[in-house]
Symmetry: C2
Subunit: 366 residues, 2 copies
DNA sequence: TTGTACGCGTTATCAT
DNA sequence: ATGATAACGCGTACAA
């Protein structure tokens, strides 16, 4: 029951620990006969490598952290899956942390990652003031999600502006005159809120549509629940405008799919339906978007690409581990995630049932 | 830039490493003056504990594994959040692994957890043959989800039978005559599939309803996509029965909420609606259930309770770490998760809009 | 090809 | 109250 050490195996096999180490790690320079002998003892004794000892010796833990707002946020759950795959393929493990979408949580995640001896951190920042990063002790970090913040850390950034604008232009092209925004306020700069709100504004301008503060419905948190509350207010407004003979809101762009799906629920609470009463587009293209009724149009960032690049950028920084920092990459590299606009039922003209059955209304292509 | 060791801090503060260690870990027996001196050097040098060294010395890693079918399965994402909280409160970290809901993945998770030197593992088993666990090298494991498998490991088990039966009885009480099951086949015993299918059978019997194989619609994977395909087949059947003047299926119990939500989409593909054309109840009560349109009735296990007990059981086993296994708990403890049936729109008689607005249709009670 | 020291950073034990 | 020393289990360098 007591732990089996490498030296135990070595003694049992009649060799030195170094030979056992060589066999375990598949290094060359061991005769076939000895190798078999060692392998047998390895199995018989039930030897398990002591990872702590190895890490202590090698100086790195083989773990990279991934800090996301929450395990239970669909977009990040999906992202975590992809990142874990990419990292595993390269011999690293991923430990997922939660930040709670709060700046304090993000700072804590950095400190925690350092404390836990992670080799690096991929930080999905929602609202962080990035200047605070430079305080970090040259700890390898890749930022995910935001943009336009010059920093020492690398960025893999979402096309928040362009994506949002495309969503709004699409809605305008559907004939919508008044297009609302459902999401956070513009208070904090360079957050998901201000960036996507900015894209909404630009989209309205490009389409020659009015952009008034009345069109903004606040969902301060990026959750379904917040979206629902906002959706209720949208419903109230539409009903009031209709009753008063004013032009009602005809479409809305929601800051994320979760908010959008919550808004659909909120509209239903008010007796209104998507897309009959309101065209709707979200952002992220989470799996639930294609499955919802109605299926949800969404700005769809390439998640595989995102995960791959994030891992690659981080590992490049990890290169000069112990040795001199030979040929480390330049600081503050910035890359933008490819994306497309995925159009589905929620922003499409209403068709008859027959028509709907002829094509796949969820856009689940390839 | 080079790592700051405890001995560096000790030298700078003019004390021994042992004193620094005592300060860092908040142990008593350090004079106030020395403590302040050390604390200052700690800050100035930017010292960070080397976790590998501490683990090597203490003999345990402070990490417990949590193996779930997938990061992106809503139920397990929520569970991971809760487990992480519980563990953190007790000074442990959680590393989440994916099993892919496959037996091979579950076995691999065990081996991996051992290899990574985790102190223990919480394994959410969906389809594992538990006898294989006894092969494990007395590695602390708590099983989550299934039941009725006598094993050396502790179980925190879902009330699969009772919950499923309650769901079916509820549907019968709504007046449904033919109640379908959407989920996996009965092939593997003691899996989520066979257990919930068994509960469905018993529920039908209790209600005096017929139980024929035609009423089973297979969703082999526990995903929205599989649910959608099954939902389409349900729709086809209902339409065919109506056209032929036969009694159509009036209600369905889906093996999980994800499958249920997929089924709603599949029914919509066929032009049918919930609950107008089919009453529906799911299992798990994931957050999305309350937010869906229509909101989804569901068997709701107490997730906080689940997470807390799982962590508690595991940590109790970890008690006798280095010392003799003094007073370790008995083997194979079995506990059942408390649950309730959460009734929402998807299994309720259709009401007018006015009625719906008077009450909260999603049952989002505290 | 194989074996021998030694060090990685921390903590327990025993002394002072 | 504080310090010296010996492990913890593995990998590297170098010697054989």
């Amino acid at each position: 029951m007591a732990t089996v050490r490498m030296s135990d195996v070595a003694r049992a096999a009649g060799v030195s620990t170094m030979t056992v180490s060589n066999v375990v790690n598949g290094r060359p320079g061991v005769s076939e006969e000895v190798r078999r002998r060692v392998l047998r003892q390895l199995a018989e004794t039930g030897y398990r490598m002591n990872v702590s000892a190895r890490n202590l010796r090698s100086g790195h833990s083989g773990v990279i952290g991934l800090a996301v707002p929450g395990h239970d946020v669909p977009y990040f759950a999906a992202l975590a899956t992809h990142v874990a795959q990419e990292a595993e393929r390269r011999g690293y493990r991923v430990a997922v942390e939660q930040t709670g979408a709060k700046e304090a949580g993000e700072v804590a995640a950095i400190r925690f990652s350092q404390a836990m001896d992670y080799d690096g951190l991929i930080l999905s920042t929602v609202g962080m003031d990035l200047e605070k990063l430079d305080v970090g002790q040259a700890f390898p970090i890749v930022l995910l999600g935001e943009r336009e913040n010059p920093t020492a850390a690398d960025h893999v950034s979402m096309a928040n502006h362009a994506g949002s604008r495309a969503a709004v232009e699409h809605l305008a092209a559907q004939g919508a005159g008044r297009i609302a925004f459902i999401g956070g306020p513009e208070t904090a700069e360079q957050t998901i809120h201000s960036l996507r709100l900015g894209g909404w504004r630009e989209g309205l301008q490009d389409a020659g549509l009015a952009c008034s503060p009345e069109l903004i419905f606040e969902a301060p948190e990026v959750t379904m629940e917040a979206g629902r509350r906002a959706g209720r207010r949208v419903a109230e407004r539409i009903l009031a405008d209709r009753a008063a003979g004013r032009d009602p809101i005809e479409a809305a762009f929601a800051i994320t799919d979760s908010v959008a799906l919550g808004a659909v629920r909120g509209l239903a609470d008010g007796g209104l339906r998507v897309p009959e009463d309101l065209l709707l587009v979200g952002f992220d293209d989470i799996p639930e978007a294609a499955m919802a009724v109605p299926s949800l149009s969404s700005v769809a960032p390439d998640m595989s690409w995102t995960a791959r690049r994030a891992v690659e950028l981080l590992l490049e920084r990890l290169g000069g581990q112990d040795g001199p920092t030979a040929g480390s990459p330049p600081a503050g590299r910035e890359e933008t995630i490819p994306w497309i606009l995925q159009v589905r039922e929620s922003s499409s003209p209403v068709r008859s049932k027959q028509e709907r059955q002829l094509t796949d209304p969820t856009g689940a292509a390839s």
